[in-house]
Symmetry: C2
Subunit: 216 residues, 2 copies
Protein backbone atom coordinates (compact mmCIF):
# COMPACT_ATOMS: atom_id res chain seq x y z
CA UNK A 1 0.00 0.00 0.00
CA UNK A 2 1.47 3.32 -1.13
CA UNK A 3 1.62 6.00 1.57
CA UNK A 4 0.74 9.46 0.25
CA UNK A 5 0.85 12.83 1.98
CA UNK A 6 -1.79 15.31 0.77
CA UNK A 7 -0.83 18.91 1.56
CA UNK A 8 -3.78 21.25 2.11
CA UNK A 9 -3.79 25.04 2.51
CA UNK A 10 -7.22 25.87 3.96
CA UNK A 11 -10.70 25.16 2.55
CA UNK A 12 -11.93 27.33 -0.31
CA UNK A 13 -10.61 28.28 -3.73
CA UNK A 14 -9.95 31.97 -3.01
CA UNK A 15 -8.04 31.70 0.27
CA UNK A 16 -7.33 27.99 0.77
CA UNK A 17 -7.28 24.64 -0.99
CA UNK A 18 -9.59 24.38 -3.97
CA UNK A 19 -12.17 22.08 -2.39
CA UNK A 20 -13.07 20.09 -5.52
CA UNK A 21 -9.41 19.47 -6.35
CA UNK A 22 -8.68 18.34 -2.79
CA UNK A 23 -11.67 15.98 -2.64
CA UNK A 24 -11.01 14.62 -6.13
CA UNK A 25 -7.41 13.91 -5.08
CA UNK A 26 -8.58 12.05 -1.96
CA UNK A 27 -11.10 10.09 -4.05
CA UNK A 28 -8.57 9.06 -6.70
CA UNK A 29 -6.03 8.06 -4.05
CA UNK A 30 -8.58 6.03 -2.07
CA UNK A 31 -9.86 4.26 -5.19
CA UNK A 32 -6.26 3.36 -6.10
CA UNK A 33 -5.75 1.81 -2.65
CA UNK A 34 -3.29 4.40 -1.34
CA UNK A 35 -3.01 5.20 2.36
CA UNK A 36 -3.47 8.95 2.74
CA UNK A 37 -2.46 11.38 5.47
CA UNK A 38 -3.46 15.03 5.13
CA UNK A 39 -1.23 17.85 6.40
CA UNK A 40 -1.45 21.63 6.52
CA UNK A 41 0.68 24.36 8.08
CA UNK A 42 -0.46 25.43 11.56
CA UNK A 43 -0.43 29.16 10.82
CA UNK A 44 -2.89 31.99 10.11
CA UNK A 45 -4.31 32.16 6.60
CA UNK A 46 -2.92 35.06 4.57
CA UNK A 47 -6.47 36.42 4.62
CA UNK A 48 -10.12 35.30 4.56
CA UNK A 49 -12.20 35.82 1.40
CA UNK A 50 -16.00 35.84 1.34
CA UNK A 51 -16.57 33.27 -1.42
CA UNK A 52 -19.97 34.74 -2.26
CA UNK A 53 -18.88 38.37 -2.76
CA UNK A 54 -15.14 37.95 -3.37
CA UNK A 55 -14.38 40.55 -0.70
CA UNK A 56 -11.90 40.32 2.17
CA UNK A 57 -13.51 39.43 5.52
CA UNK A 58 -11.98 41.10 8.55
CA UNK A 59 -11.34 38.00 10.57
CA UNK A 60 -8.57 35.49 11.16
CA UNK A 61 -8.64 31.78 10.35
CA UNK A 62 -5.99 29.10 10.78
CA UNK A 63 -4.87 27.11 7.72
CA UNK A 64 -4.73 23.78 9.58
CA UNK A 65 -8.08 24.26 11.32
CA UNK A 66 -9.86 25.18 8.08
CA UNK A 67 -8.15 22.42 6.08
CA UNK A 68 -9.48 20.01 8.73
CA UNK A 69 -12.93 20.63 7.21
CA UNK A 70 -11.84 18.92 3.99
CA UNK A 71 -10.05 16.14 5.91
CA UNK A 72 -13.00 15.49 8.27
CA UNK A 73 -10.62 16.18 11.15
CA UNK A 74 -8.04 13.60 10.02
CA UNK A 75 -5.16 16.00 9.48
CA UNK A 76 -1.82 16.80 11.11
CA UNK A 77 0.39 19.89 11.28
CA UNK A 78 2.81 20.05 8.37
CA UNK A 79 5.66 20.21 10.89
CA UNK A 80 4.95 16.55 11.70
CA UNK A 81 5.29 15.35 8.10
CA UNK A 82 8.30 13.00 7.96
CA UNK A 83 9.57 12.31 4.44
CA UNK A 84 10.60 8.78 5.40
CA UNK A 85 6.96 7.91 6.22
CA UNK A 86 5.70 8.55 2.67
CA UNK A 87 6.14 7.17 -0.83
CA UNK A 88 4.65 10.21 -2.56
CA UNK A 89 2.81 13.50 -2.05
CA UNK A 90 0.00 15.38 -3.78
CA UNK A 91 -0.65 19.13 -3.58
CA UNK A 92 -4.10 20.35 -4.65
CA UNK A 93 -4.37 23.92 -5.87
CA UNK A 94 -6.57 26.86 -5.02
CA UNK A 95 -5.25 30.29 -4.08
CA UNK A 96 -4.24 28.86 -0.70
CA UNK A 97 -1.39 27.07 -2.44
CA UNK A 98 -0.15 30.44 -3.70
CA UNK A 99 -1.03 32.47 -0.58
CA UNK A 100 -0.44 30.14 2.38
CA UNK A 101 1.99 27.46 1.12
CA UNK A 102 4.08 30.00 -0.75
CA UNK A 103 3.63 33.67 -1.67
CA UNK A 104 3.48 33.31 -5.44
CA UNK A 105 0.12 35.12 -5.54
CA UNK A 106 1.81 38.27 -4.25
CA UNK A 107 5.44 38.03 -5.30
CA UNK A 108 5.29 35.99 -8.52
CA UNK A 109 8.76 34.89 -9.62
CA UNK A 110 10.23 36.31 -6.37
CA UNK A 111 8.19 33.90 -4.25
CA UNK A 112 9.44 31.70 -1.44
CA UNK A 113 7.94 28.43 -0.19
CA UNK A 114 6.80 27.84 3.41
CA UNK A 115 9.91 26.55 5.20
CA UNK A 116 8.27 23.36 6.53
CA UNK A 117 6.96 22.53 3.08
CA UNK A 118 10.27 23.32 1.39
CA UNK A 119 12.02 20.94 3.81
CA UNK A 120 9.47 18.15 3.30
CA UNK A 121 9.28 18.37 -0.47
CA UNK A 122 13.04 18.78 -0.91
CA UNK A 123 13.54 15.56 1.06
CA UNK A 124 11.01 13.73 -1.14
CA UNK A 125 12.78 15.09 -4.24
CA UNK A 126 16.16 14.00 -2.87
CA UNK A 127 14.74 10.49 -2.29
CA UNK A 128 13.25 10.52 -5.83
CA UNK A 129 9.74 10.07 -4.47
CA UNK A 130 7.10 11.41 -6.87
CA UNK A 131 5.06 14.51 -6.06
CA UNK A 132 1.94 15.65 -7.92
CA UNK A 133 1.17 19.38 -8.19
CA UNK A 134 -2.31 20.53 -9.20
CA UNK A 135 -3.60 23.84 -10.62
CA UNK A 136 -1.40 26.71 -9.32
CA UNK A 137 0.63 24.49 -6.94
CA UNK A 138 3.25 23.89 -9.70
CA UNK A 139 4.39 27.47 -9.03
CA UNK A 140 6.45 25.88 -6.24
CA UNK A 141 8.20 23.40 -8.56
CA UNK A 142 11.17 25.62 -9.53
CA UNK A 143 11.85 26.40 -5.86
CA UNK A 144 11.87 22.69 -4.95
CA UNK A 145 13.49 21.13 -8.01
CA UNK A 146 15.71 23.96 -9.28
CA UNK A 147 16.29 25.10 -12.83
CA UNK A 148 15.10 23.03 -15.75
CA UNK A 149 12.17 21.29 -14.04
CA UNK A 150 9.34 20.60 -16.48
CA UNK A 151 5.84 21.57 -15.36
CA UNK A 152 2.51 23.06 -16.39
CA UNK A 153 -0.06 25.48 -15.09
CA UNK A 154 -2.16 24.98 -18.23
CA UNK A 155 -1.99 27.72 -20.83
CA UNK A 156 -1.98 31.06 -18.99
CA UNK A 157 0.89 32.99 -20.57
CA UNK A 158 1.54 35.38 -17.70
CA UNK A 159 1.68 32.68 -15.04
CA UNK A 160 3.79 30.46 -17.31
CA UNK A 161 6.22 33.36 -17.83
CA UNK A 162 6.62 33.77 -14.06
CA UNK A 163 7.45 30.08 -13.73
CA UNK A 164 9.95 30.33 -16.57
CA UNK A 165 11.52 33.37 -14.88
CA UNK A 166 12.15 31.10 -11.88
CA UNK A 167 13.89 28.57 -14.11
CA UNK A 168 11.06 26.13 -14.88
CA UNK A 169 10.46 24.71 -18.33
CA UNK A 170 6.77 25.33 -18.83
CA UNK A 171 4.74 23.10 -21.13
CA UNK A 172 1.22 24.02 -22.25
CA UNK A 173 -1.11 21.18 -21.26
CA UNK A 174 -4.83 20.47 -21.70
CA UNK A 175 -7.10 20.00 -18.68
CA UNK A 176 -7.03 16.20 -19.01
CA UNK A 177 -3.26 16.03 -19.41
CA UNK A 178 -0.31 15.57 -17.05
CA UNK A 179 3.21 16.90 -17.49
CA UNK A 180 5.75 14.47 -16.07
CA UNK A 181 9.35 15.41 -15.36
CA UNK A 182 10.59 11.84 -15.27
CA UNK A 183 14.06 12.79 -14.04
CA UNK A 184 12.87 14.80 -11.06
CA UNK A 185 9.64 12.83 -10.58
CA UNK A 186 7.53 15.93 -10.28
CA UNK A 187 4.16 15.85 -12.04
CA UNK A 188 1.60 18.56 -12.76
CA UNK A 189 -1.91 19.01 -14.17
CA UNK A 190 -3.88 22.23 -14.75
CA UNK A 191 -7.25 21.31 -13.12
CA UNK A 192 -9.14 24.56 -12.41
CA UNK A 193 -6.48 26.66 -14.14
CA UNK A 194 -8.41 25.42 -17.20
CA UNK A 195 -11.35 23.27 -16.11
CA UNK A 196 -14.80 24.49 -17.05
CA UNK A 197 -16.50 22.01 -14.74
CA UNK A 198 -15.75 19.51 -12.00
CA UNK A 199 -15.72 16.50 -14.32
CA UNK A 200 -12.97 18.14 -16.38
CA UNK A 201 -10.92 18.77 -13.23
CA UNK A 202 -11.45 15.13 -12.25
CA UNK A 203 -10.05 13.85 -15.55
CA UNK A 204 -6.69 15.51 -15.04
CA UNK A 205 -6.49 14.73 -11.33
CA UNK A 206 -7.34 11.06 -11.90
CA UNK A 207 -4.57 10.89 -14.52
CA UNK A 208 -2.09 12.69 -12.25
CA UNK A 209 -2.77 10.44 -9.26
CA UNK A 210 -2.43 7.30 -11.41
CA UNK A 211 0.97 8.48 -12.69
CA UNK A 212 2.17 9.53 -9.23
CA UNK A 213 1.32 6.11 -7.81
CA UNK A 214 2.90 4.32 -10.77
CA UNK A 215 6.18 6.09 -9.99
CA UNK A 216 5.94 5.58 -6.20
CA UNK B 1 -30.57 18.50 -19.84
CA UNK B 2 -31.95 17.83 -16.37
CA UNK B 3 -31.92 20.86 -14.05
CA UNK B 4 -30.94 19.94 -10.48
CA UNK B 5 -30.88 22.08 -7.34
CA UNK B 6 -28.19 21.10 -4.81
CA UNK B 7 -28.99 22.35 -1.32
CA UNK B 8 -25.95 23.08 0.84
CA UNK B 9 -25.78 23.94 4.55
CA UNK B 10 -22.28 25.35 5.09
CA UNK B 11 -18.88 23.74 4.46
CA UNK B 12 -17.67 21.14 6.92
CA UNK B 13 -19.05 17.91 8.34
CA UNK B 14 -19.56 19.10 11.92
CA UNK B 15 -21.38 22.40 11.31
CA UNK B 16 -22.22 22.46 7.59
CA UNK B 17 -22.44 20.29 4.48
CA UNK B 18 -20.22 17.21 4.52
CA UNK B 19 -17.67 18.41 1.96
CA UNK B 20 -16.95 15.03 0.35
CA UNK B 21 -20.65 14.27 -0.06
CA UNK B 22 -21.30 17.68 -1.58
CA UNK B 23 -18.40 17.44 -4.04
CA UNK B 24 -19.22 13.83 -4.94
CA UNK B 25 -22.81 14.91 -5.66
CA UNK B 26 -21.62 17.73 -7.92
CA UNK B 27 -19.23 15.33 -9.69
CA UNK B 28 -21.87 12.67 -10.30
CA UNK B 29 -24.37 15.25 -11.54
CA UNK B 30 -21.84 16.88 -13.87
CA UNK B 31 -20.72 13.52 -15.28
CA UNK B 32 -24.36 12.64 -15.95
CA UNK B 33 -24.83 15.88 -17.90
CA UNK B 34 -27.15 17.58 -15.42
CA UNK B 35 -27.29 21.37 -15.09
CA UNK B 36 -26.69 22.19 -11.43
CA UNK B 37 -27.50 25.23 -9.33
CA UNK B 38 -26.39 25.32 -5.69
CA UNK B 39 -28.48 27.01 -3.00
CA UNK B 40 -28.11 27.58 0.74
CA UNK B 41 -30.09 29.54 3.32
CA UNK B 42 -28.81 33.09 3.92
CA UNK B 43 -28.73 32.81 7.71
CA UNK B 44 -26.19 32.37 10.52
CA UNK B 45 -24.88 28.85 11.10
CA UNK B 46 -26.23 27.24 14.25
CA UNK B 47 -22.62 27.34 15.48
CA UNK B 48 -19.04 27.00 14.28
CA UNK B 49 -17.04 23.88 15.11
CA UNK B 50 -13.24 23.67 15.02
CA UNK B 51 -12.85 20.59 12.81
CA UNK B 52 -9.42 19.83 14.27
CA UNK B 53 -10.42 19.82 17.95
CA UNK B 54 -14.17 19.30 17.73
CA UNK B 55 -14.76 22.29 20.00
CA UNK B 56 -17.15 25.19 19.48
CA UNK B 57 -15.47 28.34 18.15
CA UNK B 58 -16.84 31.61 19.48
CA UNK B 59 -17.52 33.26 16.16
CA UNK B 60 -20.36 33.64 13.70
CA UNK B 61 -20.46 32.38 10.13
CA UNK B 62 -23.17 32.58 7.48
CA UNK B 63 -24.47 29.34 5.92
CA UNK B 64 -24.67 30.77 2.39
CA UNK B 65 -21.24 32.43 2.54
CA UNK B 66 -19.53 29.26 3.80
CA UNK B 67 -21.42 27.00 1.37
CA UNK B 68 -20.08 29.28 -1.40
CA UNK B 69 -16.67 27.74 -0.69
CA UNK B 70 -17.91 24.37 -1.96
CA UNK B 71 -19.74 25.98 -4.89
CA UNK B 72 -16.74 28.13 -5.93
CA UNK B 73 -19.00 31.16 -5.52
CA UNK B 74 -21.72 29.83 -7.86
CA UNK B 75 -24.52 29.68 -5.32
CA UNK B 76 -27.78 31.53 -4.62
CA UNK B 77 -29.87 32.16 -1.51
CA UNK B 78 -32.37 29.37 -0.92
CA UNK B 79 -35.14 32.00 -0.97
CA UNK B 80 -34.52 32.33 -4.73
CA UNK B 81 -35.04 28.60 -5.46
CA UNK B 82 -38.13 28.30 -7.67
CA UNK B 83 -39.53 24.75 -7.89
CA UNK B 84 -40.67 25.31 -11.47
CA UNK B 85 -37.04 25.89 -12.54
CA UNK B 86 -35.86 22.41 -11.52
CA UNK B 87 -36.46 18.77 -12.44
CA UNK B 88 -34.93 17.39 -9.24
CA UNK B 89 -32.94 18.24 -6.13
CA UNK B 90 -30.11 16.66 -4.13
CA UNK B 91 -29.34 17.30 -0.45
CA UNK B 92 -25.88 16.26 0.78
CA UNK B 93 -25.51 15.46 4.46
CA UNK B 94 -23.19 16.59 7.21
CA UNK B 95 -24.37 18.01 10.53
CA UNK B 96 -25.31 21.23 8.73
CA UNK B 97 -28.29 19.37 7.26
CA UNK B 98 -29.43 18.58 10.80
CA UNK B 99 -28.38 21.90 12.39
CA UNK B 100 -28.96 24.57 9.72
CA UNK B 101 -31.54 23.08 7.30
CA UNK B 102 -33.59 21.59 10.12
CA UNK B 103 -33.02 21.13 13.85
CA UNK B 104 -33.01 17.33 13.97
CA UNK B 105 -29.57 17.34 15.67
CA UNK B 106 -31.12 19.07 18.68
CA UNK B 107 -34.80 18.12 18.69
CA UNK B 108 -34.83 14.67 17.08
CA UNK B 109 -38.36 13.58 16.24
CA UNK B 110 -39.67 17.02 17.28
CA UNK B 111 -37.65 18.75 14.56
CA UNK B 112 -38.90 21.31 12.06
CA UNK B 113 -37.47 22.10 8.62
CA UNK B 114 -36.24 25.56 7.56
CA UNK B 115 -39.34 27.29 6.15
CA UNK B 116 -37.78 28.16 2.77
CA UNK B 117 -36.60 24.58 2.33
CA UNK B 118 -39.93 23.13 3.42
CA UNK B 119 -41.69 25.28 0.83
CA UNK B 120 -39.26 24.37 -1.97
CA UNK B 121 -39.18 20.62 -1.28
CA UNK B 122 -42.94 20.38 -0.69
CA UNK B 123 -43.49 21.95 -4.11
CA UNK B 124 -41.11 19.46 -5.74
CA UNK B 125 -42.92 16.61 -3.95
CA UNK B 126 -46.29 17.95 -5.10
CA UNK B 127 -44.98 18.04 -8.69
CA UNK B 128 -43.61 14.49 -8.29
CA UNK B 129 -40.08 15.66 -9.00
CA UNK B 130 -37.46 13.35 -7.45
CA UNK B 131 -35.28 14.46 -4.54
CA UNK B 132 -32.19 12.64 -3.28
CA UNK B 133 -31.30 12.81 0.43
CA UNK B 134 -27.79 11.83 1.58
CA UNK B 135 -26.44 10.77 5.00
CA UNK B 136 -28.49 12.51 7.75
CA UNK B 137 -30.54 14.66 5.32
CA UNK B 138 -33.25 11.94 5.17
CA UNK B 139 -34.25 13.08 8.67
CA UNK B 140 -36.27 15.73 6.81
CA UNK B 141 -38.18 13.19 4.68
CA UNK B 142 -41.09 12.60 7.11
CA UNK B 143 -41.63 16.37 7.43
CA UNK B 144 -41.75 16.82 3.64
CA UNK B 145 -43.54 13.64 2.54
CA UNK B 146 -45.69 12.79 5.55
CA UNK B 147 -46.34 9.44 7.16
CA UNK B 148 -45.31 6.24 5.42
CA UNK B 149 -42.39 7.63 3.40
CA UNK B 150 -39.67 5.02 2.92
CA UNK B 151 -36.11 6.12 3.62
CA UNK B 152 -32.76 5.17 5.13
CA UNK B 153 -30.06 6.68 7.29
CA UNK B 154 -28.09 3.42 7.12
CA UNK B 155 -28.24 1.18 10.17
CA UNK B 156 -28.07 3.42 13.26
CA UNK B 157 -30.93 2.19 15.46
CA UNK B 158 -31.41 5.36 17.50
CA UNK B 159 -31.56 7.67 14.48
CA UNK B 160 -33.81 5.22 12.64
CA UNK B 161 -36.15 5.15 15.65
CA UNK B 162 -36.42 8.96 15.60
CA UNK B 163 -37.38 8.86 11.92
CA UNK B 164 -39.94 6.15 12.60
CA UNK B 165 -41.35 8.26 15.46
CA UNK B 166 -41.97 10.99 12.85
CA UNK B 167 -43.85 8.50 10.68
CA UNK B 168 -41.15 7.36 8.27
CA UNK B 169 -40.70 3.72 7.27
CA UNK B 170 -37.01 3.18 7.83
CA UNK B 171 -35.12 0.55 5.84
CA UNK B 172 -31.62 -0.56 6.77
CA UNK B 173 -29.36 -0.03 3.77
CA UNK B 174 -25.67 -0.68 3.00
CA UNK B 175 -23.34 2.18 2.08
CA UNK B 176 -23.54 1.39 -1.64
CA UNK B 177 -27.33 1.08 -1.64
CA UNK B 178 -30.21 3.48 -2.30
CA UNK B 179 -33.70 3.35 -0.81
CA UNK B 180 -36.29 4.53 -3.32
CA UNK B 181 -39.82 5.49 -2.34
CA UNK B 182 -41.20 5.18 -5.87
CA UNK B 183 -44.59 6.64 -4.98
CA UNK B 184 -43.24 9.79 -3.39
CA UNK B 185 -40.07 9.91 -5.52
CA UNK B 186 -37.83 10.53 -2.52
CA UNK B 187 -34.52 8.65 -2.50
CA UNK B 188 -31.89 8.20 0.19
CA UNK B 189 -28.42 6.72 0.70
CA UNK B 190 -26.34 6.46 3.91
CA UNK B 191 -22.96 7.85 2.68
CA UNK B 192 -20.94 8.88 5.77
CA UNK B 193 -23.57 7.53 8.15
CA UNK B 194 -21.79 4.27 7.23
CA UNK B 195 -18.90 4.98 4.88
CA UNK B 196 -15.44 4.06 6.09
CA UNK B 197 -13.76 5.99 3.30
CA UNK B 198 -14.50 8.43 0.50
CA UNK B 199 -14.71 5.76 -2.20
CA UNK B 200 -17.47 4.03 -0.22
CA UNK B 201 -19.40 7.30 0.08
CA UNK B 202 -18.96 7.80 -3.67
CA UNK B 203 -20.51 4.42 -4.48
CA UNK B 204 -23.80 5.25 -2.81
CA UNK B 205 -23.89 8.85 -4.04
CA UNK B 206 -23.19 7.80 -7.65
CA UNK B 207 -26.04 5.29 -7.40
CA UNK B 208 -28.40 7.84 -5.81
CA UNK B 209 -27.70 10.50 -8.44
CA UNK B 210 -28.23 8.00 -11.26
CA UNK B 211 -31.62 7.00 -9.84
CA UNK B 212 -32.68 10.59 -9.18
CA UNK B 213 -31.89 11.55 -12.77
CA UNK B 214 -33.63 8.45 -14.13
CA UNK B 215 -36.83 9.57 -12.37
CA UNK B 216 -36.49 13.26 -13.35
Amino acid sequence: MKRVAVILSGAGVYDGSEIHEAVLSLLALDRAGAKVQCFAPDQPQHHVINHLSGEVMHETRNVLVEAARIARGAIKPLSQARPEDFDAAVLPGGFGAAKNLCDFAFKGAECTVNAELQRFLAALAEARKPVGFICIAPAMIPRIYGKGAECTIGTDAQTAAALEAMGAVHQACPVNGVVVDATRRCLSTPAYMLAGSIKEAAEGIDALVAKVLALA
